[in-house]
Amino acid sequence: MTIEMQRPKEVSQEMTEVRVVDSDIHPSPKRGELTPFLPAKFRSLFENRSTGAGSPVYYDAPDFAHSFAMRTDSFPSDGNFAGSDPDLMFRQVIMEAGCDLLILGPLNGGGQTEEEHHAVAQATNAWQDACWLDSEHNWHQRFRGSIVAAMEHPEAAAREIEHWAGHPMMSQVLIGAELRPAWGDPRYDPVWEAATRNGLPVACHLGRGQHNELPMSPVGFMTYNHDLMVSYSMLAANQVMSLVFDGVFDRFPDLQIVFIEHAFNWLLPLMWRMDAIHAKRGPENGLKRKPSDYVKDHIWCTTQPLDMPEDKLEFTRSLEWMEADKILLFSSDYPHWTFDDPQWVAKHLPAHMREKIMYQNALQVFKNLPETVPALPGQKRAL
């Protein structure tokens, strides 16, 4: 049911507790909206390249020509793309679904060179600041942004983090998932250094790369969106192992990494597997602790996609064994077609983990989130 609401002239004086933090939600620019924020030297280049260009999709989600991999009810009436209208997002995610704070993760793609990747990141950050996090669009104070960082250009990414750190509405650093090599390589250290110095977690979101970063598996390309998307978790599993075995958390003891949309049930057997090899060959890596300890202290996974077996008890036990209350952050992935509703997610979590996963962990990971926000009359409370 649609909730009709007028934007109040003033924010309510009444405060309400944050009970749901959504750590994966995707704003997109309206047509042409990003261009003015691009560094001048790239504007015409990017425009020229996109002239006459069509959809670049590989691995299409179901009914793609009609859904574009989105919730089909999330397209605004002005003809722009899903996620481009702050008011519609506010209505569907905050008022109707009951998420209290939204960590926006824009996925505006990249370029062909390091400089181009960095230019898109710069533009995306300035665009968020002007079009989403400003007092007009964020009048309700429920949106938080991501400092998008181009890992292709670690030094520039570190400067970009410094530039935006301290912005009261920027809550994390956001990087793509597909770049080679894996995150343990020391070339990325400037990014981890800048993030930890500023108390910002680094979130890693999957997208699509090019060629063998599409990604491609060690045995070649998957055939369908089904096998590709399910096996995407293998990429994250490798990033976890790289971060742990290559000593990133010993180099940066305050680093917090959030894996977004990579699923998470695989983390349980992965921790066993890492601990098993560590028990046999540990000294080779010079780690100070056993691998699963690093995971529980440094790595977070978002809940969407929440995958479950037929027998829900198996899922519950798996959550208990992995101590999921030390690992998970709720996420919806709105407006993507794999959207998870917060009430639906909460009801599948063991009661004693529910509050930690739905919001308490997020309040700890994202350092600048408030515990209370101005109340919104008529808002659904999911928890």
């Binding site: 299409d60 179901p62 597909e178 770049l179 080679r180 090599p181 894996a182 343990g184 390589d185 063998n212 990604p215 491609m216 598996s217 060690p218 045995v219 070649g220 390309f221 998957m222 055939t223 369908y224 969106n225 089904h226 096998d227 998307m229 399910v230 096996s231 978790s233 293998m234 990429l235 599993a237 490798n238 192992m241 790289s242 075995f245 290559d246 699923a263 049930n265 695989w266 349980l268 057997p269 992965l270 066993w272 597997r273 890492m274 601990d275 098993a276 090899i277 560590h278 046999k280 060959r281 080779e284 996609p305 995958d307 479950m308 077996p309 037929e310 899922f315 036990r317 798996s318 064994w321």
Partner: protein
């Protein structure tokens, strides 16, 4: 038998030629004079230099000469002497029957003619030395190695050996150019099914024409590689399910011989959850993905697998996703990772131990094991 009197089938014993010269004795020209990599290479080898379990080197001393090096007299390669291997497995380690897997790098050579010729040498060696002669021949079962880069040649090799009574399995490399669901591989599955033999997929030795071992390139440490690479089966399996391989070949049985069965549980949960809408794209695989596991998918249970020997919930975990019916103990003799039934989780039920130690392998490979009175 294990200490409690249960039979033990070791579903993963690695066999080798004693030396390169030994292998060349099984090759004809022009292949005998070709250049190809040794099974053991320095790239991402264990940094402590210990590739194989202590005591597995053969007593036989062989002469070999590396390029530009003086002639060396060295012990034969671990896993190359049927008498020593048989003595260690059957008389010291309590194994009743061992399934042998010849270890090579021929499946990832660029020249597929050369690869097929080398595999033929391996297969002749396996049958002559291990299955048809020697003290322990009746307790060895063999895996015929075939080349996925030469489908016609692979089918011919399967047909050459399929009627040998001690050949129980076809062996393929884990590392491929394409995932095993792609239609290019179908003649292989057809030949295996017609031969009535399961197909084991095992990591090939060394490096060759493979993609990097992770989706993000090479690893930086040996530990990372050793723990990660066995999970490669996930891509093959997801792709085989979505491509309808098990629908087209209902008799096909695949053994993921490097273990990592624990990953099956989360990945099949995910594939099922994501399956329903995607099935509209793959009508050739109309069932929910987990329905294709039973009687098709098997695993060797290796040293890195499971929640650990002391995990109290290990029995519950093994039950999930049918792992208790698909896992088979395999020691990986003589690899450095070699493990024994003593390392298996203590919380497994007696029935689970029976299945993993021998019942599932006996059924899959058609191995007659005298059932102890107590079982």
């Amino acid at each position: 038998m294990d200490p409690e009197g249960r039979p033990v089938i070791d579903a993963s014993v690695h066999v080798f030629f004693a030396s390169d010269r030994d292998l060349r004795g099984y090759l004809n020209e022009p292949f005998k004079s070709r250049g190809y990599p040794d099974v053991d290479v320095a790239w991402f080898a264990p940094p402590d230099g210990v590739r194989y379990a202590p005591g597995t080197q053969t007593d036989v001393v062989i002469e070999q000469q590396a390029f530009g090096q003086p002639v060396q007299r060295v012990p034969g390669h671990p896993g190359s002497d049927p008498e020593l291997v048989g003595r260690q497995l059957f008389e010291e380690r309590g194994v009743d029957v061992a399934v042998l897997h010849p270890m090579s790098n021929a499946g990832i050579l660029p020249d597929w003619h050369l690869g097929t010729a080398i595999f033929a040498g391996y297969n002749r060696m396996l049958v002559e030395r291990w299955l048809d002669s020697g003290t322990y021949a009746d307790r060895f079962r063999g895996t015929i190695r075939v080349n996925p880069n030469d489908i016609d040649g692979a089918v011919r090799e399967i047909n050459r050996y399929k009627d040998h009574p001690r050949v129980v399995q076809i062996g393929l490399p884990m590392q491929t150019q394409h995932p095993y669901g792609r239609p290019y591989f179908r003649p292989l599955w057809r030949a295996a099914v017609e031969a009535g033999l399961p197909v084991a997929v095992h990591i090939e030795m060394g490096v060759g024409i493979t993609h990097p071992p992770t989706p993000s390139g090479i690893t930086r440490t040996f530990s990372h590689l050793a723990a990660y690479q066995p999970m490669t089966f996930v891509w093959h399996l997801l792709n085989m399910i979505a491509e309808g391989v098990f629908e087209e070949f209902p008799e096909l049985k695949i053994v993921w011989a490097d273990g990592a069965a624990d990953m099956l549980t989360p990945f099949i949960w995910r594939m099922d959850s994501f399956g329903r809408p995607h099935l509209e794209q793959t009508p050739w695989a109309p069932k929910i993905p987990s329905a294709y596991l039973a009687d098709h998918v098997y695993f060797v249970h290796g040293a890195l697998d499971g929640p650990g020997a002391d995990a109290e919930f290990a029995d519950d975990w093994l039950r999930m996703t049918g792992k208790e019916d698909s896992s088979m103990f395999g020691s990986s003799y003589p690899d450095w990772q070699m493990h024994s039934p003593d390392d298996l989780p203590r919380a497994w039920t007696p029935e689970q131990r029976e299945k993993v130690l021998w019942r599932t392998a006996a059924r899959l490979y058609g191995i007659d094991i005298p059932v102890p009175a107590s079982a």
